[in-house]
Symmetry: C2
Subunit: 152 residues, 2 copies
DNA sequence: TTTAAAATAATAATGATTATCATTAATAAT
DNA sequence: ATTATTAATGATAATCATTATTATTTTAAA
């Protein structure tokens, strides 16, 4: 945890940004709640518990900054709110999501499933891929079982 | 064009919805401007040219309806606006996008690049895939050439 | 025709995000 | 150390996309 924060600090410094207390508090919340797909408001409320004087605008600014530096990924599940996930350390790319259309549950896939596809895009479309986002919509295991139960 | 509208009409009727003049005007705009990634506001202004009495809320409702029936795809490029694309007729899935981070251009890929990946998701994650969205962020051909010119 | 349901236009309300601005903290220059 | 400069912040107002409301109109059914 502390090491991770140190590295993020360096990452910020390299771009001549500082790791202010507010920013650090925000990063800590993201670290504690990894993969929780927190909205800016969620983050704000959690940071407020530790540092009550922080403002919502600062949280937005911090998330935007971290997003530009690719420390967090800004995701959109189409519910009108942006959500923020700490990017796995060393991960070159965004992780993928499985969104269940029945119960709304979101699963993560960190495996790189797109290596081959990316190659195709680079060669066939002359497009230099920097990042990608992949989301599957469908029915999760739990809801599939539910359906079976209901219909039997 | 007319045939397509007929089929959409039937599609609506099958779900006991009507193809009202407002809805038809909206569909026509989407047909004329296929692949243009229009926002609700864009669609509204274009429909207004043909049918000036239409209200913005109706456009939103229509787009939402068409989206539920999978006649249009609701996309989000992270710029705070939802965009609407007519789904290619017979296309079982969403088409993919290449978004250039330099110039903002959006290219379309209609090929199904994810057949193999979907199989993996279905078997390894027990997730019944219904749809997917895949977007690549990177640098398009044009901007790559630009960079070469600048650096030389 | 009468009645009920669906759809609409106009507009108010909402809610997420961004902009503004006065204040404070950090850093650099003297 | 003191001052000047810049960056960052908190509070809050403004913006803007979207949704809800409501009175009215259209459509379909009885």
């Amino acid at each position: 945890m502390e090491h991770r924060i140190d590295r993020i600090k360096k990452h910020l410094h390299a771009q001549s940004y500082k790791l202010t207390p507010q920013r650090e508090a925000t990063v800590r919340v993201l670290l504690e709640r990894e993969e929780d797909h927190l909205s800016a408001e969620d983050v704000y409320l959690l940071v407020k518990e530790k540092a009550p004087e922080i403002g919502l605008a600062t949280v937005y600014r911090t998330l935007e900054l971290l997003s530009e530096l690719k420390i967090v990924d800004k995701i959109n599940f189409g519910d009108g709110v942006s959500r923020y996930d700490l990017r796995k350390e060393g991960a070159a790319h965004f992780h993928h999501h499985l969104v269940c259309t029945e119960c709304g549950a979101v699963e993560e896939i960190t495996d790189d499933l797109l290596e081959d596809v990316e190659k195709i895009v680079e060669t066939d479309w002359n497009f230099k891929v920097k990042d990608h986002r992949l989301t599957f919509h469908g029915v999760c295991k739990k809801c599939q079982d539910q359906e079976l139960k209901v219909s039997s």
